[in-house]
């Protein structure tokens, strides 16, 4: 059914259709509307057979989820930013225990300085925790990915994060097609756990493993992700057959066939990128783009196939690996092992800074002329940076950097553009 709803509500409805049995909720912007929506659905009786638990921290949220999932209940939670960091220990633990929990990440920057707006620093910080990480491009895809996520998680006994850009998707009202319960039931069978806490068949879960077996246990976690590389496209195909629209998959190339320049990005910014690609194509520029949906497992082969004939690759990243540059770029480079082409890392959209078409157009033109630095910060205010560096060179006690920059800018509210 077509509905004009907020992205968070669309996800809440999708989760409810997946018949979760335990939902843990803890507020953090910008994911909060999702669990608020689910709380309403549970409390009003629309979503029956589900426990909605208000916990005291994100660490508890995922810990409660670990308990309920290990006891055989289909389990969901959501978080963002600092919340994901606060539950980090449990994030690794849930994956290590092989518990098929599904968690939405309303992607948001990590402080300090505290910042509630969108970038991908939170999800990226947990990229090696053993969770599958799927990035949604649109609200429709966010909705669809959650339905696929439960099936993927439960088939593999592996937790799945569905990452959607905070505010840009979570708070955007957009038209989405919400499937029927019958459609979802046909796609998503009931949860049959591989391991379960059951007095009739007592097992010990989560005991210590020493050097004699730890490598094998970890390898099998890796192997699970390798299996996901084939399962994710299969589920995407099955989803298309069941629901009549394409969603998910490993990557989505856009006008890449004869492209000399290919832009790689994750999440909602791909919409803007594709518009700029269209504009430049109209002017005869051979440019295309690739949206990475599955960041973990990282689709090395699919990317290699798509990128290998290009002359250059621009990786647009909403996360900064401080002291290195880009995280996605590392994976992209690995996918192109042995192939020589120009690669550029562009750090963009940090802390919610808008990524505009005009900035991207200029960026891609510079890239086309191979006039980009290895690592570029899109729309960096060089004047402010130079001034702050000069100030710090002149005095010792210069105070909080962030405050000094904002004083220099003279803005009171937040400048997002």
């Amino acid at each position: 059914m077509l509905k004009q709803v907020e992205g968070s509500w669309a996800v809440a409805e999708a989760i409810a259709l997946c018949r979760p049995e335990v939902i843990c909720a803890y507020p953090i912007t910008p994911q909060t509307h999702i669990v608020e929506g689910l709380g309403e659905l549970v409390k009003s009786g629309v979503l029956a057979g589900c426990e909605f638990i208000n916990v005291e921290s994100e660490f508890a949220a995922l810990s409660v989820a670990i308990g309920s999932s290990a006891a055989g209940a289909r389990t969901y939670t959501a978080t963002s930013s600092q919340g994901l960091l606060f539950m980090a220990e449990a994030v690794y633990n849930a994956a290590g225990l092989g518990l098929p929990i599904v968690m939405t990440i309303g992607n948001r920057a990590i402080g300090a300085p505290i910042n509630i707006w969108n970038d991908h620093s939170d999800s990226m910080s947990m990229r090696d925790a053993g969770w599958i990480q799927l990035f949604a491009e649109t609200n429709q895809e966010a909705l669809d990915l959650h339905i696929q996520a439960f099936r993927l998680a439960e088939e593999l006994s592996c937790p799945v994060m569905v990452c959607m850009d905070g505010f840009i998707l979570t708070h955007a009202y957009d038209r989405v097609d919400i499937p029927t319960q019958g459609q979802v039931d046909a796609f998503l069978p009931p949860f049959e756990p591989r391991q379960i806490l059951d007095p009739a068949e007592p097992v010990s879960i989560g005991a210590m493993v020493g050097p004699e077996a730890f490598t094998e246990v970890r390898y099998l976690a890796h192997h699970k992700q390798l299996r996901a590389l084939s399962l994710i496209p299969q589920l995407s195909d099955a989803f298309r057959a069941q629901f009549g629209r394409a969603s998910g998959g490993l990557i989505r190339p856009y006008r890449t066939a004869d492209a000399e320049t290919i832009v790689v990005a994750l999440g909602s910014v791909n919409g803007t990128v594709q518009e700029v690609v269209d504009d430049m194509r109209a002017d005869g520029v051979a440019i295309g783009s690739v949206s990475i949906c599955s960041f973990r497992p990282f689709p090395l082969l699919a990317l290699r196939e798509t990128l290998q004939h290009a002359k250059r690759v621009v990786v647009l990243e909403k996360c900064l690996a401080v002291g290195l540059g880009g995280i996605v770029s590392d994976g992209v480079r690995k996918s192109l092992s042995g192939i020589q082409l120009n690669g550029y890392t562009v750090i963009a959209g940090l802390g919610g800074r808008a990524i505009t078409r005009s900035s991207l157009r200029q960026l891609f033109e510079d890239a086309g002329a191979d006039e980009l630095e290895q690592v570029t910060f899109l729309d960096l205010n060089a004047d402010v940076v130079a001034h702050e560096l000069e100030r710090e060179a002149l005095a010792r006690r210069t105070g909080p950097t962030a405050e000094a920059i904002l004083r220099r800018l003279g803005t009171v509210g937040s400048r997002i553009g």
């Binding site: 638990i53 225990l97 007592p202």
Partner: protein
């Protein structure tokens, strides 16, 4: 000690009779009614924490856990799921491929046992398994320190979980470091017996049973491995109640305390009899029962058996700090009304 019921209530004895074995407060099985006897005396005990584990000789925690979980199993007709915090109990009972646990058991992290247990309880509730009961357990570090947030959250929501803390007063699994349950003056690896005031500081203390009571949860009790019948009774009582319940068990650690393994029960008993570890029960925030002391013993009798307090004695006893510890015991005795005639 509980008041024992006499078979013929119509003819009460002329005076209150107490059944003490020589030198102990332990009541023998033969003096108890069938349903009050120790689970361990029953041929059908479950051995939930089975023999063969790797606990040290004289481990109070292993003893406490064995009695507590077997009692919980009896009370729940063997339908118990246990959640364990990281710590000695988790490590000595398990390393794969072996396990001493004869019940479904999960270990997740150090600080989240109470929350994981809430999740298990939620799953049981949603699946209609009202017969299955959930017990979470951890040491004092996993309970009073790193797991405290999750514990308080579980209490406040009144989740249907019995949380058992085995308190050996320090981080024993990592090599005897101080926790918030470490008593004043005690030597640990991080409160060294050096300097002007050797051992742990005299802080304000952190009485988690009292904090649990402040949550108004249905049942809170302290217990000791010195009084195993009482421990079983309290666990059994806790299992008969729904909602959040907390049982805090004092379990000597010969390794960390520097006491003789053969003295575990004796040391635990002296902690109780000195007033340093009061035994009491509380329901919905109010104290409903306490184990009275027939004859309080000086704290020195308790402290002297443990090398962690050795720096208080020797040729020049640290009278000021021994007095300060005695004052803590005296305050407990007064506060909880532990004197027999009080």
């Amino acid at each position: 000690m509980r008041n024992l019921k006499f078979p013929d209530a119509a003819t009460p004895p002329m005076q209150s009779v107490k059944f003490y074995q020589t030198g102990t407060f332990t009541v023998g099985n033969r003096l108890l009614a069938e349903d009050e006897r120790s689970v361990q005396a029953n041929m059908e005990r479950t051995n939930s924490l089975n023999s063969g584990h790797r606990a040290c000789q004289g481990c109070g925690e292993a003893l406490g856990a064995r009695y507590a979980i077997d009692a919980a199993m009896r009370a729940a007709a063997n339908q118990v799921i246990a959640v364990n915090a990281t710590g000695c109990l988790e490590v000595f009972s398990t390393p794969y491929p072996e396990t001493s646990w004869q019940i479904p058991w999960i270990h997740s992290l150090f600080g989240n046992a109470a929350a994981v247990a809430s999740g298990v309880a939620a799953a049981m509730h949603v699946k209609g398994r009202t017969d299955v009961r959930v017990v979470a357990q951890g040491g004092d570090g996993g309970t009073t320190d790193i797991g405290f947030g999750c514990l308080s959250g579980m209490f406040e929501r009144n989740d249907d979980v019995l949380y058992i803390c085995y308190d050996n007063e320090a981080y024993m699994n990592t090599g005897v470091q101080r926790s918030s349950a470490t008593p004043p003056a005690a030597r640990t690896a991080t409160t060294m017996a050096v300097g002007r005031e050797p051992g742990n500081v005299f802080g304000t203390g952190k009485n988690v049973p009292l904090i649990a009571m402040a949550h108004q949860i249905p049942y809170v009790a302290t217990a000791s491995v010195a009084n195993l019948r009482d421990l079983e009774f309290k666990v059994t009582k806790a299992m008969g109640i729904h909602g959040a319940r907390y049982v805090h068990i004092h379990v000597p650690c010969p390794l960390g305390w520097g006491s003789a393994p053969a003295d575990t029960i004796k040391v635990a008993r002296l902690a109780v009899e000195s007033g340093l570890f009061p035994l009491f029960e509380a329901e919905h925030g109010d104290i409903t029962g306490r184990t009275k002391l027939r004859r309080p013993v000086p704290v020195t009798e308790y402290l002297q058996l443990q090398k962690r307090f050795a720096h208080l004695f020797g040729t020049k006893p640290d009278k000021a700090r021994l007095d300060a510890i005695q004052a803590i015991a005296d305050r407990n005795i007064a506060r909880f009304g532990l004197l027999e005639n009080a």
